[in-house]
């Protein structure tokens, strides 16, 4: 979780990722952010996030994103 928080806060140092739960709906993460976020996560965690994982529910909070990473790590 800590590595993920580092990646997120490097992307947006001014956002409180512990609290935000509507990152996509509130346009805090835009499409550029999501695409660059995925390449960082794929590299850092050795997982592969694919098109079918790219839905708002998986990116709306740090928690949801971490859950996705864990699911992919288990596969």
């Amino acid at each position: 979780m800590e590595e993920l928080m580092n990646i997120l806060s490097e992307l947006h140092p001014d956002v409180d990722f512990e609290k935000e739960e509507r990152l996509v709906e509130d346009m805090i993460l835009d499409s550029f952010d999501i695409v660059s976020l995925i390449s960082e996560i794929n590299e850092e965690f050795d997982v592969t996030i694919t098109a079918k994982d790219m839905i708002p529910e998986n990116f709306n909070s740090a928690k949801a994103l971490y859950a996705l990473i864990q699911r992919l790590e288990d596969e």
Partner: protein
Amino acid sequence: MQNNVLNYLKEIVKKCPHKTAYSDGRESLTFGEVYAQTRSVGSYLAGKGIYKKPVVVFMRKSPSEVAAFFGVITGGCFYVPIDEEMPGGRIQLILDNVQSPLVICDRDTIEKAKDFKLGEGQAVLYDEISQGEADETVLENIYKKAIDTDPIYIVFTSGSTGIPKGVAACHRSVIDYVEQLSEILGFGEDTVFGSQTPLYFDACLKEVYSTLKFGATTYLIPKNLFSMPVALVEYLNTHRVNTVCWVVSALTMVSAFGAFETVKPEYLHTIAFGSEVFPIKQLKLWQEALPHAVFTNLYGPTEGTGMCCYYRVEREFADDEVIPIGHPFPNREILLLTEDGKPAPQGGQGEICIRGTSLTLGYYNDPVRTGEAFVQNPLNSAYPELIYRTGDMGRYNEAGELVFVSRKDYQIKHMGHRIELGEIEVNVDMLPEIRMSACIYDTEKSKIVLCYVGDISEKELTVALRSRLPRYMLPNRMLKLDQMPLTANGKLDRITLKQIYEKR
């Protein structure tokens, strides 16, 4: 002969007034509605005595925004689109440059508009000026008096001094562009566009104007779908989109994440792309998913009105090959010129220069920078003839196709946007904590890297830049250094800087 873009609208509204012209999936406007609203907006402008003036349009990307553009032209004025995505500082620079008497807003932007110094200008709601009665006599008079070299829009592009440049285009160059482009890509009344680009760049001309020419339909795709590839393709299918002209990064987003394994575009047959190099691997994924579709690479600077060269992909490319820029559209010529204004030798490199009607009018209220880029054709000393120097270096390959080689300066293409690295540096250097800064671009990973010396953390710097630079210009990596590498004669050493970055 057609000498006014409004002619497209006047003709098509007679033919198919009830057909949908523009839609974002929720809100839609038919050609009849677009026409009626443009007549109201034009009459409102005329009533206010606003004529031959820039009119700022500050609205959410929507069918109404497109109608507002044509309303401004109907009033004999030219539109200047600005957008919430632009940082406040940049919007103010644009407002200061154009000194518009009017800012047309929607309900989402009107409060924000009031935060800016509008000078003599006034902010009004589109909904309130687009429903009034049309004064047909006045509008017909404006239409008759218009000539095809009158401006119709100004769009702003990155400037290395930190001040964006307002490229002004006229009826004639836009008509020429729409006519040539639609023939090359085969647009028609059955075309259903899925528009990706923001409306504040000239990239949207392709869909917005071609829709009027043919009575086609344009879907303005919500921006958030461009990080949701499966939902994006489903959107294309729901609306039966058959034609897209997208930046490369939008196309690769769909293919690289494997969206085609889940869903394929069912109606898409025409795919144009541009602004960046399309990686062959990604192109092949698209071709596999859509074996019967036509793929066309487009190239062109805003100063040449939209795109000016095209290359239809008809042969196989190796993974390390670069797709050529190809050939100029009809009615414009590409000159490859050397530093001293001579034609480049056979097969050699030269600066890509554009000659022809497609040249825009120049940078608005900026004679100095206009004079640097729009120059007398050095191959013609007999009469005045301007060419536009793109700053792009190119050469012809063995097949006689034009190929992009590099930039002469520090302009880059990042996620489909044209960016002067100098503009980022100027904005960084304005912060009091910064002693020196330099930007480099990691082409391989598509990342803007900012190196700086100063008493500010990477985090604080990111926050500070957010209010100064558009989102797409924000550095993706920050490198705080103790000192900048310099060359023997004291200039910034970008080569060493790149090495320092690569070692990290």
